[in-house]
Amino acid sequence: MEALYATLIAPFADFEFMRRALLGSLLISLSACPVGVFLMLRRMSLTGDAMAHAILPGAAAGFLLYGLEIVPMTLGGLVAGVVVALGAAAVSRTTVLKEDASLAAFYLISLALGVMIVSIRGSAVDLMHVLFGTVLALNDAALTLIGAITVVTLGCLFVFWRALVAECLDPLFLRSVSRLGPPVHFLFLGLVVLNLVGGFQALGTLLSVGLMMLPAASARFWTARVEPMCLAAVGFGMASSVAGLLLSFHLSLPSGPAIILSAGAIYLASLLFGPRGLPSRRVRGLKHRTA
């Protein structure tokens, strides 16, 4: 019992930074995991990585105007992210180009622009190093930011749930019954950018993209219905946050990678043991052959 307390509870009871890290990562799980599920269902799983590059020109512009201040750099990043996401969506809706191709085009333009701006200033400080936080150093401002993002995200998901599900799974149906389709899609992209950019600022790129996509991908192996999938993703995200922080504390591992590797372990376990993972495939295949 004593040992259990020392292993599981004491790190959080003794250290405030651990409590803050836990709160921050649980909140981002609550907010980003459902968004990740929708991203995955829309086949936009790599958006997060693209976005990590796409925000550079905004952050750089904030840096040029205000120096190394977190708020202007984050706002700049947010603007750049929204422009890239909405621009890509608009192009894919109005032209022959698919969403992935137009996103790639937009984020590459954006990244190049960012590198150009940074180089003009000629600073050697790695901007992204400064902008990207670490889960071990969540100050009040970062926690407030994550909290606000969580509230906004959950509120939007709650209000627009049915429209989102329809837009994800059957956009043609939604278009036939309502004119909400495009606005809902743009709103959803806004949520994605908000979660990612806020997450980058508070937690770093790896952690915020990883917590968005890995639990969602794991949850896909367990159910085909959207609601349980979102709940499972949130559960997986929270479990990996707790496990990762404890691993980082006891085994002296860097905390971001520890959390994401925990999520990765859940993914592999889901792949092997989930009802829709590898085994089910084999069983179904056999059945098919015998039938």
Partner: protein, 345 residues
């Protein structure tokens, strides 16, 4: 006709101008990789050298990305001054691609190196020993030492990559943080300049002597200031292990959550241990640095009720107008900040 007159005029002017220019010495084109080396070079070279600094004030040489202009500058240089010990991770390939013929002078040559985290607890001793062995092998293989002093070649070894050396908790490259080492840097710079410009040698030696005298005075100042700090309060926390030599030389124990390179990421265990140390009153002050993200240090400070003692200048000078525009100012600023924060706590 007019053309001919003009030409002869030009020729005449050139004939008059050239002897005058021969007396005006050709300036040495010197490249210094970062601002602190640039300052040393300026002190030694005076107006006989033209200095280009690659990583400017407040820049982080660990994470620097070179530009084509840098390669061009290297190609046209007469002397290239580098810290060595894999401080400049970007350097080796840049020198290769620039195709420069200039000698690359490692200013840490002759410095007694210490291992990363020596005096601090951040890297295990066994691990460091292991790293040492490996780099010896690399040194034997690579063996492209630029000086004659083979005795130090093993210590100032050549691992294949800076990051590798860092990860093994190997040799700490921030040698310039001790004034004693700064004097070796200055001597090495004078030697390099003499080799490149024999006519100016006298001037360089004289400049180096004058600057070394100022460094001596600075060192006495630093020692006096540290002596005023009680022995049981000489443990402080900074964001990355940049002050190993300072601590080693003057007896202050610096601890950091990030390790030697600003690239690595902290673990929860490291942060927890630092907080424990502050709680047990082993560590008495925390500081941020000019080249790295202050948030982790601020978190540690707020959790333990300490206020951040100020900003230390580690791997780069500040802007010329700032508090650490030259090496002498940088050391004075750091010592003053350290003393003020420790005695104030």
């Amino acid at each position: 006709m007019l053309k001919l007159v003009r030409h002869s005029l030009l020729l005449g002017a050139a004939a008059f101008a050239s002897p005058a220019q021969a007396q005006e010495p050709e300036k040495l084109d010197v490249i210094a990789t970062f601002s602190i080396l640039g300052d040393f070079a300026r002190q030694v070279g005076g107006d006989r050298v033209e200095i280009t600094t690659l990583v400017g004030p407040n820049g982080d040489a660990h994470a620097y990305e070179p530009r084509p202009a840098d390669a061009a500058a290297l190609a046209n240089a007469d002397v290239i001054l580098v810290n060595g010990l894999y401080f400049e991770g970007f350097l080796e390939r840049l020198v290769e691609t620039s195709g420069t013929a200039a000698p690359v002078v490692e200013l840490t040559k002759g410095v007694e190196t210490i291992r990363a985290g020596e005096g601090g607890p951040s890297h295990g001793a066994e691990e460091a020993g292991h790293g040492q062995e490996e780099t010896h092998e690399h040194a034997a293989e690579a063996g492209h030492d630029h000086g004659g002093e083979e005795t130090h070649a093993a210590e100032a070894s050549h691992a294949t990559e800076a990051e590798e050396a860092h990860r093994h908790g190997d040799i700490d490259p921030h040698a310039f943080q001790s004034v004693a080492n700064a004097k070796i840097y200055v001597k090495n710079i004078a030697d390099a300049f003499c080799a490149a410009d024999t006519q100016g040698c006298e001037t360089f030696r004289a400049n180096a002597r004058a600057y070394t005298a100022r460094l001596d005075a600075l060192e006495a100042e630093v020692k006096a200031a540290v002596a005023e700090i009680p022995a049981d309060k000489r443990v402080v926390i900074t964001s990355h292990d940049a002050f190993g030599y300072f601590g080693h030389e003057y007896g202050i124990d610096f601890r950091a959550p990030e390790g030697v390179s600003t690239e690595s990421e902290a673990s929860a265990a490291d942060v927890a241990r630092l907080i424990e140390e502050i709680r047990e009153e082993k560590a008495s002050a925390v500081f941020v640095e000019n080249v790295s993200n202050p948030r982790l240090i601020e978190q540690i400070a707020s959790e333990t009720g300490l206020t951040v003692g100020g900003s230390l200048y580690s791997d780069a000078l500040s802007e010329p107008s700032g508090p650490a525009g030259a090496y002498l100012d940088l050391m004075r600023h750091n010592v003053r900040t350290l003393k003020g924060a420790i005695l104030g706590s």
